[in-house]
């Protein structure tokens, strides 16, 4: 195919980027905020004079939670609109759907959401967490004395790739730590599952003799009924805490948090982060939403994916400046080892693959939908796209090895 370079648009005063987040359909719940975050970053950068002297022009499309449309829109952005980079996707399937398009057309996708790993494309910059940046620390924490020393784990998720892979890795990890098989239960519910009565009664039985916790990869609108039922059947964070990997501030924004208080979540970023950079980021985001008249206005909150979607734009801009060009290959090379002061503090691109090294935090849900940060990793945690637990023989290195390779 033609190179996705932007030389044609580079001669004009603007540089185009694509925004590929679902604004309608089932995923809109999560993705709309990411579009807003990208938009805000673009506005900020433009206000400061743009990138390489050019204003960024975002091309926003709505793939409508329709995976085929993701592929189509990706083609449109790369081939017809000739954008320099694309910021988008949330679900694994949407990423997988556009992946070949980006690879075949030499595009660059900034993917801001935590994901299951086991992938390392040359065309994707993964700003979200890899399993070892979210799942493993969370499990480790729960098993630790400080975390409560839990010994039984109920792995509950929505039935799709992320939970399945996440649980596979978690299970491998737990087993490796000497948790007996019978103390780990894995269960999945369909998307949009609303009725958790049966499952919670199973959990109740499982947790009866204490020291049990839930590792939840339940997605989207199933969460509220899940937590409600959990409380209804008399369980609580004291008896059996839920560690969620897919519940962030944005989801909690207007949820009835009453039932969630005291439960936990693991991410790389929380709005409650005390850094001044973050305080400014949060205030800016609220102001941005209010100014643009977006639903929620200044009640809006930031969360992990929002932070990384926002950071992604800056990373790209910084890399382009560093490379002195918008050309994908140059930007990509400039990204290696690039560091940036994100709202979450300094973060750093991996020197050899396309993932981001960043801190891991665990938070406890507060009644106002915010998180009490109760644990924080010592420093930046390096990304591992291939989990050593499930793929011990694989690693990813685009500098020396042309991507995924087999370790000796």
């Amino acid at each position: 195919g033609k190179t996705g370079g932007s030389d044609s648009s580079a001669t004009k005063g603007t540089v185009k980027i694509g925004v590929l987040h679902s604004l309608s359909g089932t995923m809109a719940i999560s993705e709309v905020s990411l579009k807003d975050a990208v938009q805000m970053a673009v506005d900020e950068i433009n206000a400061k004079g743009g990138v390489l002297g050019k204003q960024i022009e975002p091309v926003i499309v709505d793939p409508a939670s329709d995976w085929d449309l993701f592929a189509e829109k990706a083609k449109e952005l790369l081939i017809d609109k000739k954008v320099s980079a694309v910021f988008g996707c949330w679900t694994s399937v949407s990423r997988k759907s556009v992946l070949p398009v980006f690879e075949q057309n030499n595009g660059l996708l900034f993917y801001p959401v935590q994901y299951e790993g086991e992938e390392c494309s040359n065309s994707v910059i993964y700003t979200g967490a890899t399993p070892n940046q979210q799942l493993i620390p969370a499990a480790e924490y729960l098993m630790s004395e400080k975390g409560g020393g839990y010994k039984k784990f109920y792995l509950l998720g929505t039935d799709y790739v992320f939970p399945r892979t996440a649980n596979k890795i978690l299970k491998a990890y737990l087993l490796s730590k000497g948790i007996p098989k019978e103390n780990i239960i894995e269960e999945y519910t369909p998307f949009h599952h609303q009725d958790y009565q049966t499952i919670i009664s199973k959990v109740k039985r499982f947790a009866a003799d204490g020291k049990a916790c839930i590792l939840s990869t339940i997605n989207g609108d199933s969460n509220v009924p899940f937590y409600k039922e959990f409380a209804n059947q008399g369980l609580s964070s004291a008896t059996c805490p839920i560690m969620a990997f897919s519940v962030a501030e944005d989801e909690l924004r207007s949820m009835d948090t009453e039932f969630l208080v005291g439960h936990l979540a693991a991410w790389n970023y929380f709005q409650s982060n005390d850094l001044p950079e973050n305080k400014k980021f949060v205030a800016d985001f609220k102001a941005f939403c209010a100014k643009k008249g977006l639903p929620g206005g200044d009640k809006r909150v930031t969360d992990d994916p929002i932070c990384w979607a926002y950071t992604g734009v800056y990373l790209w801009a910084k890399a382009a400046e560093k490379a002195g060009s918008f050309e994908v290959s140059k930007v990509r090379n400039a990204l290696y080892s690039l560091d940036f002061d994100s709202p979450d503090g300094p973060v750093k691109m991996d020197p050899r693959n396309h993932h981001l090294a960043k801190p891991v935090v665990i938070g406890e849900i507060k009644p106002d939908g915010q998180f009490d940060i109760i644990w924080k990793s010592g420093g930046l945690v390096d990304p591992q796209p291939w989990s050593p637990l499930t793929s011990p023989d694989k690693d990813c290195d685009w500098v020396n090895h042309n991507g995924t390779y087999a370790k000796k």
Binding site: G1, L23, S24, I60, V61, D62, P63, A64, D66, W67, D68, L69, A71, E72, K73, K75, E76, I79, D80, T91, S92, V93, K96, S97, L99, P100, V101, Q104, N105, E118, D159, Y160, V161, R164, T165, K168, P190, F191
Partner: protein, 358 residues
């Protein structure tokens, strides 16, 4: 007069899509993506023809066409994926390796061969349609009952395809193919070729459907739509007829799906979820039910609008499409195709009135 109009329409259609669009591409006015996108719409149109046969003509609202469509797509996808895997020297497609599957499941085996894949892509949907049809039509399920049952079936299949245990890629479906029959899928010429093939298949399918609906067989179908019992009392085996047309519709959907896959590059169970299966019916309804041209135009136009609007009006395209649906329904009697009729009728009505008063 009417046939003349029709022929003109056909010529226009073919001239536009077979000559103008490719020419536009070759002269660099259109990107290969535009061509490819239209190629995909053609696949939908092929499936829509099937829906029009089964629903428009026979009056059976089948909501499982999306499922047949996916069967076609999945079959080809399995073939392409296996080819890619073998070329890469791996034993198993990536996702199976992740799912810790040791050997290729038996039902993947035949898809090593392109010929077998095509045959199976047709055979499996046909067999499915035959069995489902036999069971449903025999117990005389009709009307909404039929619609909801087939919808339930699609839903069940959707849930099953979503599972990883089925070894069909789960929610992620099958994706990331590089070549078909040795030609690279990312090559523009291949995309153009696929577009032309789709167009040719669409035209052929249209012609076949035209012949079917204009034969006595077609009249029996319409008679079944009107009064099934009368058809029985006139000694036609209603079940046979319904079954035949159901299988034909399934085949058309599958063919559409087969051509759709290489042009889209991904197939996921999302193609057959509730929304998708309702939408397929909507194309036909909007185009004009019981009118083959309507089915084609409905499928092309709705999908075109969907693509265009999601890009041009990402925030408000649902409004636009929604209002379009409502307005089409309220003001055009027989969908898009009825547009001409409606206007003509209005015109002649006024003429009638004036001629009367004089």
């Amino acid at each position: 007069m009417k046939t003349k109009n029709n022929i003109l329409l056909y010529i226009l259609f073919i001239a536009f899509f077979a000559i103008l669009l490719p020419a536009g591409y070759l002269t660099g006015l259109l990107s290969v993506n535009t061509i490819s996108v239209w190629g995909r719409y053609f696949c939908f149109a092929i499936a829509a023809l099937g829906i029009d046969l089964i629903w428009g003509y026979t009056g059976i609202l089948s909501m499982c066409q999306a499922f047949f469509f996916c069967l076609g797509s999945y079959g080809i996808a399995m073939h392409l994926l296996l080819k890619k895997t073998v070329a890469a020297g791996a034993a198993l497609p990536d996702f199976m390796a992740w799912n810790k599957i040791e050997t290729l499941p038996f039902f993947w085996q035949p898809f090593h061969s392109f010929g077998w894949s095509v045959i199976l892509c047709l055979l499996i949907p046909a067999a499915f349609a035959f069995i489902i049809g036999l069971v449903l039509f025999r117990s005389r399920i009709k009307g909404v009952y039929m619609a909801i049952i087939t919808q339930a079936l699609t839903l069940a299949m959707w849930l099953i395809f979503l599972r990883n245990e089925t070894n069909l890629g789960g929610t992620n479906g099958l994706t990331d193919f590089n070549s078909i029959l040795g030609y690279s899928l990312s090559a523009s010429s291949v995309k153009l070729a696929l577009y032309l093939v789709s167009l040719a298949v669409l035209c052929t399918a249209y012609y076949c459907c035209y012949r079917i609906t204009h034969s006595k067989f077609g009249k029996v179908l319409q008679a079944i739509r009107d009064s099934e019992s009368r058809v029985s009392y006139t000694a036609y085996k209603v079940v046979d007829y319904k079954l035949a047309v159901f299988v034909v519709a399934a085949l058309l959907a599958a063919v559409g799906g087969m051509l759709y896959l290489p042009q889209t590059g991904i197939i996921t169970p999302g193609r057959m979820d509730v929304k998708a299966s309702v939408e397929m019916v909507m194309w036909v309804a909007l185009g004009g039910r019981g009118n083959l041209k309507g089915a084609v135009i409905g499928a092309l136009l709705v999908n075109f609008l969907y693509s265009i609007c999601t890009s041009l009006f990402p925030d408000s395209w649902l409004f636009i499409l929604g209002f379009l649906f409502v307005i089409t329904v309220l003001y055009f009697d027989k969908g898009f195709m009825g547009l001409g009729d409606t206007i003509r009728q209005k015109f002649s009505a006024t003429r009638l009135k004036t001629s009367q008063t004089h």
